[in-house]
Symmetry: C2
Subunit: 360 residues, 2 copies
C-alpha cells in the first residue's frame, strides 16, 4: 500500500493506494468519529462492492447503512442528491456520522456535496472505484451537482478525511472508462510534470493491460501532482485552475452533446487537443509538440477531435463555464509540453480557429 | 451609523447599523468585486425596498438584477432555492458576482446558501429587514434550507462580506414579527449578558414603540454578543451552541405545528420557558428566576407556553434535531439568569416534565 498526504493544515488527509483495501475495515475505522457510517453508492458499483465494504466495516464494529443511487452523469442532479438527504434524515444520522462515497466521480461528487450540506457538514470519506476518480475527482475537495444550465454549477469545496483507492476495483471497470481515466493522468504530465509524461509514453500499454505496478505508479504520481496543486491553492484562486486544461472546451462538448454521451475524460482529451492547437497558434507549441500530445491520446484510444458541433455553439457553451471573469474567458493553454498557463487574452477568432481545426 | 466587526481573520466583516443605509450605495460598493450584483428578495419585501436598493446601487455604477422569491418559511426549500440558481445561470453570473440578500431570515438563509453553492461559492452581502434577522440570522454565516423531515437540515457555514441593518426597514414590519425578534434579543441577555438583560427590562416598552435609539442599541448589543460567540466558535463545536437556548424545544414546536404556524421567535420564547423549567428542576434557577424570564416574554407579547402537542411528539421531533450526539440530546439550559450551559444528561422523564409544565 502506498500513502500520500494532502497537506491542508488541520484538514490534511491521507490517500491510500493499493490492492485489497476494501477488505480491510481497520483502514477506515481510525477516521470515523463514531461507530456509525453511511455508504453512498450506485446501482452498478453497489452490487459489485457494497457488501465487501459493509463486511469490512462490520468486522471493526461499524454499522453502515447504504443509499444506492441510479447510475450515471444524467442523475448528478438535485432529485438524486435528495435521495441521500432523505435516507440520512430517515436514519436520523447525526452531524458526527461519516458519509462514505463508494463509486466513480459522479458518486464521489454527489456524496461529497451531500456531506458538505447535511446539517451544514458531516465527515466524509472517498472510496473511488474508477481510474478517473482515483487519480482526480476524489482528491481535492471539489464537490458538485449539475444544473440543467451548466455542469457542476452547484457545489462546495469540501475535503474528505481519507481517500481509499483500491486498485482491485478497477478489475471490473469497462475499457472505455479506463481510457477516460487516462486522459486526466496524461493531463498531469502535460501541465506540470514532464518526467511523468515521459514515463507515460514509455508505459502506456502496461496501463491499458491493467498491470498492478503500472497502475499503482500512475495513480500515485497523479495524486501527488493533484495534492501539491490543491495544497497550494485549495479554492482555485490561481494555480489550481491549471488542472482544467482541456476542460473549458471539454465541458462544452459534454453539455453540447447531452451529459453522458461523451465521457468526461473523452471530452477532456478532445478539448486538450483544441487547447494544444490554440497554443500552437500562439507560437508556444510546435507542430511536433501537438503531434506528440495527439499520439499519446491516440495510443490511449481517446478522441483527438471534437464532435459535430458548430463553433458558435462552443463559444456559447464556453461562455457559461465557471472560468469566465469580467466577461473574459480564461483558458488553460500549454506554454510548452509539461507547462500550462492561464491565458485570458485569446480572441474569439483564434478560439474558433482552434475548435474548427479539431472538429470533424 | 454604528459599526461592529465579526472577527474571523481573512473572512472578517463589518456590521453596519443605522437609518437610511439602503439609500447609500457607497456603503456597498467597496465590498463588491465587480460592478455587478444580484439581489435576492421576496414578494413582500421586494415591493417595499427593492427599488430603493437598486437605485442606490445604480448611483454608484452597479447594475443589480433581482430574483423575487415567494414569501414565507414554507418556501424555504429546494424548489425555491433553485429559482435563484436558474436566474444566476440565465444571467450568466460569474463566481465574482455578488449576491445580496434583501429580506428577513428566510431570504437571508436561502440567499446565503445559494451564494455558498453557486459555482462553489460567490461573494455575498446580508441586508436584513426584520428585527430577528438584524439581531441574529444575518450575522455568523449559518445558511440553510428546510427538508420535509427537518428544519435547516441542508445548509452551509458561509460568511457574508458585509451586513447592512437599516433600521428604516423596521417601520413596515408587522408587530407580531417585531415581537418575534425580541425573543432572540432577550436570548442574548439570558445566555451571556446580564447587564443587557437588565437594560432590556428597563427599555422594553421603548423597543415596542420602535424608538430609533433603543432599537439601534438593542441591535448593536445583540450583534456584539453574536459576533463574539461566532468569532470564538464559527462552526459550532462548542460555545456557539449556547445560542440555541430554547431552540431544540422551539424547533419541535415549529415542525410539530407545521412551519409558519408559529413564528420562529415565538417558538423560541415558549421553548426557552421549557428550558428554564428544566433548569429549575435541576436546582439551577429559582422560582423567581423563572418568573423573571417569563415576565419579560409576557411584556414582549410572546408566548410562554407551548401549543397542544403531546410530550411524546416533542421527544420524537427533538430527537431529529441537529443537537443530538451519540444518541444523546444536548440541551442548552440556564445555570443562572445570564449564563447558559450545555447539558447532555437530562433524562427523558425530566424533559417530559418540563414540557408538560409549559403545555396548555
Ligand atoms: N471533483 C472533481 O475534482 C472532479 C474531477 C474530475 C471529474 N469529476 C467528475 O467526475 C465525474 C466522472 O467520474 P467517472 O469518470 O468516475 O464517472 P462515473 O462515476 O460515472 O463512473 C463511470 C461508470 O463506471 C461505473 N463504475 C464505477 N466504478 C466501477 C467499477 N469499479 N467497476 C465497474 N463499473 C464501475 C459507474 O457506475 C459509471 O457507470 C464527472 O461527473 C466529473 O464532472 C470531478
Ligand atoms: N442563520 C441563522 O443563524 C438564523 C438564526 C435565526 C433564525 N434563522 C432563520 O430565520 C428565519 C426567520 O427569520 P424572520 O423572522 O426574519 O422571518 P421571515 O424572513 O419569514 O420574515 C418575516 C415576515 O416579514 C416579512 N418582512 C421582512 N422584512 C419586512 C419589512 N421590512 N417590512 C415588512 N415585512 C417584512 C417577510 O417577508 C415575512 O413575511 C427562519 O427560517 C429561521 O430558521 C436563521
Ligand atoms: Zn476532469
Ligand atoms: Zn433562532
Amino acid at each position: 500500500m502506498r500513502t500520500l498526504e494532502v497537506a491542508l493544515g488541520a484538514r490534511s488527509y491521507p490517500i491510500r493506494i493499493g490492492r485489497g483495501l476494501l477488505h480491510d475495515g481497520s483502514l477506515v475505522r481510525p477516521f470515523l468519529k463514531t461507530s456509525r457510517a453511511v455508504i453512498v453508492t450506485n446501482d452498478v458499483v453497489g452490487p459489485l462492492y457494497l457488501q465487501r465494504m459493509q463486511s469490512a466495516l462490520a468486522s471493526v464494529g461499524v454499522e453502515a447503512g447504504a443509499t444506492v443511487l441510479p447510475d450515471g452523469e444524467a442523475h448528478k442532479d438535485w432529485p438524486t442528491l435528495n435521495l441521500i438527504f432523505d435516507d440520512l434524515l430517515r436514519a436520523r444520522c447525526e452531524r458526527s456520522t461519516t458519509l462514505i462515497a463508494l463509486g466513480g466521480g459522479v458518486v464521489g461528487d454527489m456524496g461529497g456535496f451531500a456531506a458538505a450540506c447535511y446539517q451544514r457538514g458531516m465527515p466524509f470519506i472517498q472510496v473511488p472505484t474508477t481510474l478517473l476518480s482515483q487519480v482526480d475527482s476524489s482528491v481535492g475537495g471539489k464537490t458538485a451537482i449539475n444544473h440543467p444550465l451548466g455542469k457542476n454549477m452547484i457545489g462546495a469545496f469540501y475535503q474528505p478525511r481519507l481517500v481509499l483507492a483500491d486498485i482491485d476495483t478497477l478489475d471490473t471497470l469497462p475499457d472505455r472508462e479506463l481510457r477516460a481515466g487516462l486522459a486526466e493522468i496524461i493531463k498531469y504530465g502535460l501541465i506540470r510534470d514532464l518526467p511523468f509524461l515521459e514515463w507515460l509514453e514509455a508505459n502506456l500499454e502496461r496501463l491499458l493491460a491493467r498491470e498492478t505496478e503500472a497502475l499503482a505508479e500512475a495513480i500515485e504520481r497523479s495524486c501527488a501532482n493533484k495534492a501539491e496543486v490543491v495544497a497550494a491553492d485549495e479554492t482555485e484562486r490561481g494555480e489550481r485552475a491549471l488542472l482544467n486544461l482541456g476542460h473549458t472546451f471539454g465541458h462544452a462538448i459534454e453539455a453540447g452533446m447531452g451529459y453522458g454521451a461523451w465521457l468526461h475524460g473523452e471530452a477532456v482529451a478532445a478539448g486538450t487537443m483544441m487547447a494544444a492547437e490554440l497554443s500552437r497558434q500562439l507560437g508556444w507549441l510546435s507542430h511536433q509538440d501537438v503531434e506528440r500530445v495527439e499520439s499519446l491520446f491516440v495510443r490511449a484510444g481517446l478522441p483527438i477531435r471534437g464532435p459535430e458541433l458548430s463553433g458558435e455553439r462552443y463559444l456559447d457553451l464556453m461562455a457559461s463555464d465557471k472560468k469566465v471573469e469580467g466577461g473574459q474567458l480564461r483558458l488553460v493553454l500549454l506554454q510548452k509540453v509539461g507547462k500550462a498557463v492561464i491565458h485570458a487574452e485569446a480572441g474569439q477568432q483564434a478560439i474558433l480557429a482552434a475548435i474548427r481545426q479539431r472538429s470533424p
